[in-house]
Symmetry: D2
């Protein structure tokens, strides 16, 4: 199989560079070009590198940044992974799709549009069909988005529970890593020895996106899920890994043991298809009394193949008719670049590319 | 007015030393002796000091630790502040009360006993009357407890809201400082760049103590409050100050503005009595979009007289019929030693001492 | 005595706001105006506040930022404290001095000019006389600079030792706080759980400024001190307080006890004059085996009047013919705004204002 | 080749568990047993695990801890890796060597004994011959030690420089990670947002061990190196990786470029022998202006095979006749367990096992 040439948009940012990391040696995709604003034109990836301590290949580090010219990108790449900032992504991604490029985007701009999939292959693979409703689809161009980083980590175990037991309410408080704000992002003076109980627009996204993602797809439409989703978001002095405290009121009675069983039994489409970026188990249920922890568990949990793509769940317990648990996911892998790469793999598996 | 001689029990620990800090130059109380286990007998406070960066007086630092001999303490001190660890405090405090000493304790041991006040003067001052039911009261001895540190910070604004609007549910997730675990307490390897989503017995205490504290006192008994109290507790890499994310379902409809108004208008007994350790305002409602924060607000908020005794509340907002807010309190002052000192001041004001 | 009206330049930055903090209720000076670039014109200090957890007065927080128009400033203020960034400070301070304003600057721009005092009142008070050589002096305008933050902390104990024992070499490695880089300054992704062994131009400043400061003033000139000054500078995840490891080769033999004695006996001019911002003791020699520490000692050491203006020295010890010690000073107080305020107080005492 | 059965002593501690990590799938060695004090007897490795986030194999995690009975160990294991605490290691290791076991120890107890190699294969491989002088050698038993963690990182580049240019003085200040103190080790209250300028006995070890390691081996004896070695040691809030600031006075004139060339050209015995745990390059010279950094470089630098075993050197520069540089090494791998495993591999290569 010949590899698909792909563009990485926003290659000077942290999400962009996570895309690059995941695309080195990818079995389906090959990096056709790195793109960013004119400010970085001609610089090597090495010069603009934000990620530290990750062994990139020399060839990759020597690649030069090119400008975001849609026609030039379309000529070379069938597909683009977008780590563009949201204020740029909206119009730009639309115009690139018009050139016939399939876009897998981490930006928030198009997420809530009715014909754009807000996709997590482990949660709502059928939503991918929405792209066929997009005006540019006939031409080969379309847009698929991954969810907000903190919503993603929640959506995976929540879907496993929602499908089995229903749900009347979900109360979540987050403990989010600084890498979620990009680079330079959060000033050290704000977060050293501190917690900041505010992340712009984050609670709004969590309280809205989850309904679409857990919604049922039918006849080209998504019917939003209905329950009380209440989110409170804070930034903590952690580098990678969003931890979340979840309290659920289920649709029917179930104890913690039943919930654990449902989480462990959950085997959605990417695992059945063995997509390259899919972790062996999408949800890892930890049994220790004090896990998951970002410093220990953000990257994996399982030795096999998680590479930051599994969601770790721990301390599943019941209290006064509620189910409580903690969850952790890697915010720039599972909740960012990794999510979109997996989305693209699903598109390949479903013959959309 | 002649100052009351007081004992500090557990003077080698962090809470004990916070007691000492608050009792230097106290208008009602004078430190009569510092007490701890035999291991520290004869050492100066300077040698066993755990708190750093707080300017203690030379005289205080030279005081010697004595052993916990009840009769000797009772001979010298009318009152004792207890920072003893819970596994020791239970029996010991009972036997010291039998010697006629009034004990104001930070330990959990006696909190849930029906005739022991679990007291926050801003929340349930009437509960202090419970001491009259204690067997040792006739003799001058009794036990008053302050609440768990994270419950305390919550109880103050919750009471202001509960009294005004009623309450059907309260969902709380905590972001707790390491000083709450004492010294040496949390190993740095566990918490640097990390969050630990587990604190032993903490959720149980929060889900239980709040009902007693918000309960109505009548005819020598406390009738527990009734609502869904659900807590999830985590440790974060912060030195002082417990931050909490609260989501409330009120008993009757109220928007965020009405809740803010109730919080700001709240003027309970310690403020009316102008007790020495009481902050001018028990609740400080912050209007910034990203406060309160431990590093900025744990000690105060208001310039006047808070000294770590006020509870800061911020981001009061509504969503889908719920009220959300963040609160912050200093865990070893408001939520520890300061709470018990204020309890003792109330006891003086109510002529129990 | 009528208070002197003073301007604070760069009032939107951290050093500017430290100036404001120190000038509230100052016995000699009164804030006549807050100045910054046009971007902040008309905003209140509250809106642009970078410092957290410091109780400013309501009146101060309501002051409005004005633009840096030299003539307007000169009309209202006899004196200006400058927290301007170095790329702006050079020309601007010169033109403001031409308007007859005495400038006490934290910027590096003019430090090494032969007729500009690089002043620490505890180290080289006579250097202040240099201002009389400045072209604008006749007109009332002149420039006095304080040293780089890490050089300042070193210069105080070094001068005490140099005067007594001479010096052939000084090897210093620094552990510098993030507040030294201003706000937003150091990105959290660079410093959480990390040390960055590089601070732009910092080693160069330390290896150069110290010779001027320890130089002898004679006949309107400073003769530079001569010894090997070697510096290595690193940033650590600490908020306030620069810690430094110093190794000295003295000019004549002396053991640690003799050095400690010299440090403790040191009583320079600001202490003799009892200048308002001068700490009671300029050098606090700590005897514990593990101090000074930023989190414990940056603000003081002594209870009396240090307020971040003393230099703490600890672990003075000898090894193989060398003297080793650790020193700590508050980088934005002693090593920043506080230094310049003390400089201005010395100028008042010496009738230059 | 049949694998050698090895014992891991002190398997409940962090160094012990690093040994286990390195011995899983080792080409020469196989874990024959895990040993610790009686307190942990019978527990599984999983139950006593201190390291987090490292994927151990299920089989390994299920191994049971046995007690430190010398005869039983000798019966099963030809070789022992010792992560025992120094207060236990001294006598114990002696008695185990008497049973004919070859011991590769991380403990300080025997390091300075004249017939015990203080060995870094990249620095002083010939010193290994010293074991032949040990009384127990005839019987197959002997003791080899690795150096103190902060001395190890320094010794590798220092030897490369010393051999080429000579050395008259070396001034080092350290920035040491908390994992160096083991678990629970450094309390979080001591190190969050702080630096502690004291590590017990660390400066003494650095100022002494380096002379032995850089000493010349001749006729069964080590002639100590001679230069001024001066060390100052501090603990910083970093998890893994000791950073050090070094200032050298060379024996003959050389500029930074010449030093860099010598460092990069250095190819000692383990690299020539391609020992399994040896990194491809023992010293990685970084060219960025702000590296090495613990969070980015502790594990490697090079993609190939470093796994925490290379020493990273950066910012090699000259000033006033001195050479300055920064170095970083992983304190529990290169400076701990990894060092001893490499020592044992050298012993195999030299037919001592």
């Amino acid at each position: 199989m010949k590899k698909v040439q792909v563009a990485v948009l926003g290659a000077t940012g942290m999400i962009g560079q996570r895309f690059v990391q995941l695309l080195e040696d990818h079995p389906y995709f090959e990096i056709g070009g790195l793109y960013a604003s004119e400010r970085s034109e001609g610089k090597s990836l090495r010069e603009v590198m934000k990620l530290k301590g990750i062994p990139f290949q020399e060839d990759t580090l020597s690649m030069r940044i090119e400008t975001l010219e849609p026609k030039a990108i379309a000529k070379r790449c069938r597909l683009a992974f977008s780590g563009l900032p949201s204020d740029v992504a909206g119009d730009y991604e639309t115009s690139l799709a018009q050139e016939g490029v399939a876009i897998f985007s981490n930006a928030a701009s198009h997420r809530m549009e009715p014909d754009v999939p807000l996709l997590i292959p482990e949660v709502n693979p059928d939503h991918l069909e929405l792209v066929k409703k997009q005006a540019t689809y006939a031409n080969g161009g379309f847009i698929v988005t991954n969810a907000n980083c903190s919503t993603t980590g929640l959506a995976v175990p929540l879907q496993a529970i929602y499908k089995k037991f229903g749900l009347s309410a979900c109360y979540v408080s987050t403990y989010q890593a600084v890498s979620g704000a990009g680079y330079p992002g959060v000033p050290s003076l704000d977060i050293l020895g501190n917690v900041v109980p505010f992340i712009k627009n984050e609670e709004e996204k969590m309280e809205e996106e989850i309904y679409k993602m857990l919604g049922a797809y039918k006849n080209g439409k998504v019917k939003y899920a209905e329950f009380d989703m209440i989110a409170s978001c804070a930034r903590v002095p952690v580098v990678d890994g969003h931890l979340e405290s979840a309290v659920l009121k289920l649709g029917k009675d179930a104890n913690a043991a039943a919930v654990i069983k449902a989480l462990e039994a959950y085997r959605p489409e990417p695992q059945k298809l063995k997509l390259p970026t899919a972790p062996v188990r999408p949800i890892i249920v930890r049994k220790e009394e004090n896990r998951p922890q970002p410093a220990a568990d953000a990257l994996a949990g399982e030795p096999e193949r998680a590479r930051g793509m599994a969601v770790s769940v721990g301390r599943v317990r019941e209290s006064k008719g509620y189910i409580k648990f903690w969850l952790l996911s890697h915010n720039t892998l599972r909740g960012g670049a990794g999510g979109s790469v997996l989305n693209a793999e699903l598109a390949v598996a479903r013959k959309l590319l």
